[in-house]
């Protein structure tokens, strides 16, 4: 008890030179880190605001000498870039995947956490093994399956193969195990069906876990590149990351345009992040998701 109180008070009053020095050193490092993190973003934003003539200058300017929105205007008025459509495609795929993944993960997680049945451990083991299979291995047959299902070049081809997430099931099982079973028994006495228990008792208690899984499924889908690259062929069905590579190759040396396009791809997720920043951080610490 005594040491504890001493230590807290000591900590509060410790304005020694040494502490001041180490604190300023800490801030110095952190500010340097902030610069390293932010300068690439700022450079890209500035580049997108320069006129084409300033881009090709050697050495390059950091701050635009002439500020212009020309690059954005060019992209918005380009008939080959129906931006709204690309945003829609990305949102469409991400929304479906998030909703379906949350549903299947919580339902299966609930069953593995709260029910006893034959072969449970074996089945759960089977799900865990899925975690170890890298995407690149199932990518090739996954494409061949889509061919058989006639889902190549369809947005559904981006959704249907990933409606069940082994990690999501694992995560939800962990969370649901922590919910007392007494609540379920009480609901049963009140005449609730088993699905009713899932829907009305379990789901409402999973708020933060669902948010975490949702955020990361959304992020993963939004930034997904390799799978859409293989599946989607029609220009109008492309998602945002594909638009960026397409645009990049179309305008190889026009860095004002490609950087503006990068900003347009980054912007929505950065806005979502700005709003839900705390949830993002809590989500990772909760799940260790990657």
């Amino acid at each position: 008890m005594e040491t504890y109180s001493i230590s807290t008070s000591g900590k509060q009053n410790k304005f020694s030179i040494k502490r001041l020095f180490s604190q300023s050193f800490a801030y110095l490092i952190l500010i340097f880190g902030t610069l390293v993190t932010l300068v690439p973003f700022i450079w890209v934003i500035f580049t997108s605001l320069k006129p084409a003539s300033e881009i090709i200058r050697i050495p390059p300017t950091f701050f635009p000498e002439t500020w212009t929105l020309d690059s954005y205007r060019t992209i918005f008025t380009d008939p080959h870039v129906p931006l709204a459509l690309f945003y829609f495609n990305s949102f469409f795929v991400a929304t479906f995947r998030v909703v379906i993944t949350i549903f299947t993960s919580t339902l299966a997680g609930f069953i593995f956490a709260k029910y006893k049945f034959g072969g449970k451990d074996a089945i759960f083991g089977f799900i865990l093994v899925q975690l170890m299979i890298p995407f690149q291995v199932v990518m090739i047959p996954g494409y061949l399956i889509l061919v058989k299902l006639h889902l190549v070049d369809s947005l559904w081809g981006l959704i249907i193969p990933s409606m069940v997430d082994a990690f999501g099931i694992f995560l939800m099982r962990q969370f649901i195990e922590g919910i007392p079973s007494e609540l379920m028994d009480a609901a049963r006495i009140d005449g609730s069906s088993e699905f009713g228990i899932y829907w009305r008792i379990i789901l409402p208690q999973l708020g933060s876990a669902i948010a975490a899984l949702g955020i990361f499924t959304f992020m993963g889908t939004w930034n997904d590149y390799l799978w859409p690259l293989i599946v989607i062929t029609t220009h109008e069905k492309r998602t945002l990351p594909l638009l960026l590579t397409w645009y990049n190759s179309q305008h190889g040396t026009r860095y004002d345009l490609t950087m503006a396009a990068s900003i347009l791809v980054l912007l929505p997720i950065l806005i979502v992040y700005a709003i839900f920043q705390r949830r993002f951080v809590r989500g990772i610490t909760m799940t260790g998701f990657k």
Partner: protein, 442 residues
């Protein structure tokens, strides 16, 4: 509540079915459209790689075609070059590829052998008839196992001509238009126009470091010495010859001794010749005339020209030329008749071929356009330089797998030699073994 669960599962299954069935359904709809009376519109899809000039050329012909065939709607899509190759491969097994595809001649047979392409019906045109109309070199890319799978639009001759930037000539006091008498005089001019900032090359005098450029220049330099890149059997390669060694040495010397290009800074991966030329960082850019056509559209304000360059060895130009872009029809098409109508319309009809070649600044595969070139040259003056060369071009021959030989064997090893990572002899040796391994593997 249970109902809800099943409802959701059902919904998911329905979603799957709708998504799967969706395509079949539209497919049958379209099929019945095809059988229906002519006033009902059918839609043909056309794919090509991405290049502003090619897009303009194709769009112009499509507009004409749709005007003359009001019952056919043509939907045109383009793909970045690398993605185009991947997309062809992923879409064909799935049957989602376009009805008509603009393909490079050297790719055609691998798709035809896999059964993915439709045969040109004899009643439309026989191989004999095609031979009358088209040059042999481009046509042969479309002729596999004695069957004709499409028609060419381009005679690919990425050689003998270069983009030139007059502003850089003037800035360095170099005579313009160039008065090159031999290859050495061109190198001398290029040297004057190469700029450095300290050790770093900021402008290249002569940029020839590309997959096509290095391969074609290497072959041409061998031919111009009277040599051959084929072994005696005509199937295998032989790069273990004095001619091949001289040819590669010349390419290496331009980079290392004359320093008219830095192959580390200028190559396919960074500062590709088309990009770096139009960004003003290259005085003479070694590339096919099609790059001039694309440049005219993408960089309308830039002043440039496309000129003949002297032979590497001796005084007589000799080149290897190969099949270029043309049109094929997918075996999966629901409307083979209309698809071939479009493909023939774009390739075999003189005025349309003219439209395409003049927009793209490519050498026509159609003989008649070259035999009376006035109209074409009026639209695409850049082609003048290549027309003078055309008689010196000879068919490159059967390279077994041209893209693999060019882009995975010749380009990387020659680039290694240029960058000084390997010696000329080492590079030749690797090229020789690997190219022959490709022949042996078939």
């Amino acid at each position: 509540m249970k109902k809800m669960l099943y409802g959701i599962i059902l919904l998911a299954i329905i979603a799957v079915l709708v998504a799967c069935g969706g395509q079949d359904k539209t497919g049958t709809d379209q099929a019945s459209d095809g059988a229906a009376p002519k006033e009902e519109k059918i839609t043909l899809r056309l794919w090509s790689h991405q290049n502003a000039a090619f897009q303009a050329g194709n769009e112009a012909i499509i507009a004409k075609f749709m005007e003359q065939n009001p019952n056919i709607e043509v939907k045109y899509e383009t793909f970045e070059y690398d993605l185009f190759i991947q997309t062809l491969q992923t879409s064909m097994p799935a049957g989602t590829e376009a009805d008509v595809i603009e393909m490079f001649g050297t790719w055609v047979c691998s798709y035809a052998d896999g059964g993915r392409l439709s045969l040109l019906p004899d009643n439309l045109m026989t191989y004999g008839q095609a031979q009358e109309l088209f040059y042999q070199a481009p046509l042969d890319g479309y002729y596999c196992d004695n069957k004709l799978y499409g028609l060419p639009q381009e005679f690919n001759l990425e050689n003998g001509g270069s983009l030139v930037n007059p502003a850089l000539f003037e800035a360095h006091g170099v005579t313009y238009p160039p008065q090159w008498t031999d290859f050495a005089s061109m190198i001398a001019d290029a040297k004057k126009m190469t700029e450095f900032d300290g050790d770093i090359m900021t402008r290249a005098g002569f940029n020839y470091v590309t997959g096509d450029g290095l391969s074609f220049a290497f072959f041409a330099a061998i031919l111009q010495q009277g040599g051959s890149y084929f072994a005696d059997d005509g199937m295998h390669f032989n790069f273990d010859t004095p001619e091949a060694r001289n040819a590669l040495q010349l390419l290496v010397d331009m980079a290392q001794k004359d320093q008219i290009v830095d192959p580390v800074l200028f190559n396919d991966e960074s500062n590709w010749v088309g990009d770096s030329f139009f960004a003003g960082n290259v005085a003479i850019g070694f590339v096919g005339s099609w790059a001039a056509g694309e440049g005219m559209i993408n960089y309308p304000d830039m002043v440039f020209d496309y000129v003949e360059i002297p032979p590497y060895f001796g005084t007589e130009n000799r080149f290897a030329a190969d099949s270029g872009w043309g049109k094929v029809v997918s075996a999966n098409t629901k409307y083979p008749e209309e698809a071939w109508k479009l493909a023939m319309f774009m390739t075999a009809e003189k005025e349309n071929a003219l439209l395409w070649n003049s927009n793209t600044s490519t050498i026509p595969a159609l003989k008649s356009l070259v035999e009376s070139p006035e109209e074409l040259l009026a639209h695409a003056p850049f082609l003048k330089a290549t027309f003078n060369l055309l008689p010196h071009g000879q068919f490159i021959g059967d390279l077994t797998d041209r893209d693999q030989i060019f882009y995975e064997i010749l380009y990387p090893h020659i680039l290694d030699a240029l960058q000084g990572v390997v010696s000329v002899d080492e590079a030749l040796m690797s090229i020789n073994t690997e190219a022959n391994a490709v022949v042996d593997s078939r």
